[in-house]
């Protein structure tokens, strides 16, 4: 019984697909613009992040539609077709094909993880449908020189590590307390290795001796041995590159085992996840530094546009949005800007409009904290990271210093655990 129904469903889907194919590509109906959205919602350590991004993306679509949709298309509404990648590249590849060929989306957004975005965006290039990369940092995503893949809100991973290194140099100079030894701890993945490579090079340039340099398999059951070893190396400054689960575990262990260093500097991701402080504990997370792709409430929520997003997000989900949500929200608005200029839902027209994106000092740039325009490889090189310090459970921007909220004074070096 059930099996025959399944067969029927399959054949129905197949024949529907044949029909859709026969109708051809002429019919980019203008009453809705279909947007494919690929994001990890389960099955991976990044699912928590994916969830925040998904919420913000939905919020942006609602806001745009409430305001009357895409005016250049006669008020066409955005229609989001969301897909859970489960952090699996193969799933994303297959789903990208489905979104393009079956759902007939005009544009794709996604997919947070570099390992997923990299192969899946090649599908978009193949079928000539634009893909807006959200936060995937792998350099090659834009280095390939694809015509249809745009990265407005992220720079390659090295940019993240460069910001952390710049900050360490600056902090050492301004406080007069220069670190002499360093440790590099990173997850054993694409992203972790990219950052570690840059950090290794930068530390050498700064004259910081790397006394500990080790990776760990992501989602490790027990990182305690690693931290014991790290403690034995006595580094002055520790660079960390982790997703949430490992970041939480590492920081708890550092607090428990009282690993004393002048500074611990995280690389956004796990360290800026909204669950990081509550899960680690306010005391154990205190005074940790981290890069962040976004400067935080005090520095960025300054316009009515930004406030509407903030208030509604907080009202709906009882949690403050972070870089993930903010960026996801902005990406949809960057798409909207392109659609208005394209005046068409045709993927090629959208691509051409996206390529000409040039935002300065508008609501969107003020929200994200940097201007948006693409170089010849469709990379926005204007994005930068800030560095924040966690104090009493809150994130304060400390670098660049002009963004530091009045009344906050950076703690560097941080006191030993026994003195807290």
């Amino acid at each position: 019984m059930k099996r025959s129904r399944m067969w029927r469903a399959a054949t129905a889907a197949a024949s529907a697909a044949v029909l859709a194919g026969a109708l051809g590509s002429a019919a980019w109906a203008a009453d809705t613009v279909k947007v494919g959205y690929l994001i990890p919602l389960s099955g991976t350590a990044a699912a928590a992040i994916g969830q925040e991004m998904s919420r913000a993306t939905h919020l942006a679509v609602d806001h745009i539609n409430e305001e009357g949709g895409i005016k250049a298309l006669g008020g066409a509404k955005l229609q989001l077709v969301e897909v859970d990648t489960r952090g699996d590249p193969q799933v994303a590849i297959t789903e990208a094909e489905r979104l393009i060929n079956v759902e007939k989306v005009s544009v794709l957004i996604g997919a947070f993880q570099s390992s997923v975005t990299f192969p899946a965006s090649a599908i978009a290039e193949k079928y000539q449908v634009p893909w807006i990369v959200d936060l995937s940092a792998k350099a090659e995503i834009t280095e390939r020189g694809f015509k249809y893949v745009f990265r407005p809100t992220q720079i390659p991973s090295s940019g993240n590590a460069d910001s952390a290194a710049d900050f360490i140099a600056w902090a050492g100079k301004t406080t007069g307390k220069q670190p002499k030894t360093g440790a590099i701890v990173y997850e054993n993945t694409d992203w972790g290795q990219d950052l570690a490579n840059t950090m290794r090079k930068r530390m050498a340039e700064m004259g910081i001796k790397v006394v500990f340099d080790e990776s760990y398999p992501p989602n490790s059951p027990n990182l305690r041995p690693l931290v014991v070893k790290l403690k034995g190396a006595h580094p002055d400054v520790i660079s960390m590159t982790s997703y949430t689960g490992d970041a939480v575990q590492l920081q708890k262990l550092i607090a428990q085992l009282r690993v004393d260093a002048m500074a611990i500097v995280g690389s956004a991701a796990g360290h800026v996840d909204r669950t990081f402080v509550p899960t680690v504990g306010v005391k154990a997370a205190d005074m940790v530094f981290t890069t962040n792709g976004w400067a935080g409430y005090d520095s960025a929520i300054t316009t009515p546009f930004a406030r509407r997003f903030w208030d509604q997000y907080v009202g709906k989900y009882q949690a403050d949005p972070t870089e993930f949500g903010v960026t996801a929200y902005a990406d949809v608005w960057i798409l909207k800007d392109a659609l208005e200029r394209a005046g068409s839902a045709d993927p090629k027209a959208i691509r051409d409009a996206l390529a000409k994106t040039d935002m300065k000092d508008n609501d969107i740039t003020r929200l994200v904290g940097y201007d948006i325009a693409f170089d010849s490889k469709n990379q926005n090189t204007l994005k930068r990271f800030v560095v924040q310090q966690i104090k009493d459970g809150k994130y304060y921007t400390v670098w660049p210093s002009k963004l530091t909220p009045a009344g906050y004074k950076m703690v560097w070096p941080v006191p030993d655990w026994s003195d807290r």
Partner: protein, 292 residues
């Protein structure tokens, strides 16, 4: 030197918890000879129950243990009675492959059920108890480590005594050794299976609380510890209660000490390699009794 001593203690402490995770599996595996792939998922369930007991009822992590143990005992009894038993009975004479497939399904199902129920976030109980430490010179012991060590040894001891000196315990052992012979002696093997499965899960209740103190829970946490539990069971000797604890301690020590000399990315391979070596040279496990 300090690092090595610290690593030694850490290895014992995490090993004790691994051991108690494997304990229930060893019991089920030893008595029924089934591969329960959902074991890790039941651990995840235990951790969530503990988390909710602490966050919703305001219980201390350790105080939540009896409650979680009771709930999991019932879950285990019910799972065996209404889910596994019908599948198992069909293949009683052969290698119970269907149970393996069934528990694989249960594993996927439970993981996704809790993704829906609890969301994908990492969760850890509030309160500073889990971060509290004893400092002894340069060595640092956290409260959860010490508690884990003590409770694990205690539970193992209790189970050994139970199996040795109670009527029910002896019935379980007899059934594990020879089901037919046990049934001749008037032991109802189906009832024994239900009890064994239930006890296996109840012990996971203890393990869940101890683990939650050192490791946050998310819906997929079971994948991490499930396979490891199997390895420990085989290392220690299938069905051997003390062996499960010893196997756990061994894995803890390999992991902790091994990482002081090798990159930690190798520790998993090291554990598996030692596992294979034991399997080859002592297939009955390090502490198992040779089967005729």
């Amino acid at each position: 030197m300090t690092s090595i001593l610290q690593a030694l203690f850490d290895g014992l402490a995490s090993g004790a918890i691994y051991g108690i995770i494997a304990l229930g599996l060893s019991l089920q595996f030893g008595v029924m000879k089934i591969i329960n792939f959902a074991h890790g998922s039941f651990l995840m369930v235990a951790m969530y129950l503990t988390f909710w007991a602490t966050s919703l009822l305001g219980l201390h992590l350790l105080a939540a243990i009896p409650l979680v143990v009771a709930v999991l005992y019932l879950v285990g009894w019910g799972t065996q009675r209404w889910l596994i038993e019908p599948v198992y009975r069909k293949e009683a004479t052969r290698e119970p492959i269907s149970v393996l497939i069934f528990t694989t399904g249960l594993w996927i199902f439970l993981d996704n059920l809790f993704l829906v129920l609890a969301g994908p976030d990492y969760r850890t109980p509030a309160g500073d108890w889990a971060n509290g430490v004893f400092v002894l010179g340069d060595l640092i012991f956290t409260y959860p480590q010490v508690a884990g060590l003590v409770v694990s040894v205690l539970v193992t001891l209790l189970l050994v005594l139970f199996m040795r000196y109670t009527r029910l315990g002896r019935a379980i052992r007899a059934t594990g050794q020879d089901r037919e012979a046990a049934s001749v002696l008037g032991i109802d093997s189906a009832a024994v299976y239900r009890t064994s499965f239930a006890i296996g899960l109840a012990i996971l209740g203890v393990a869940g609380a101890l683990l939650l103190a050192i490791f946050p829970v998310d819906p997929f946490i079971g994948d991490l510890f499930g396979v490891r539990a199997f390895i420990i069971v085989v290392l220690g000797g299938i069905g051997s209660i003390g062996g499960a604890l010893a196997g756990g301690l061994m894995v803890g020590l390999i992991e902790s000490l091994g990482a002081q000399f090798l990159p930690i990315t190798y520790s998993e391979a090291l554990i598996f390699a030692i596992f294979l070596a034991v399997l080859y040279f002592r297939p009955q496990g390090l502490f198992g009794v040779e089967r005729a």
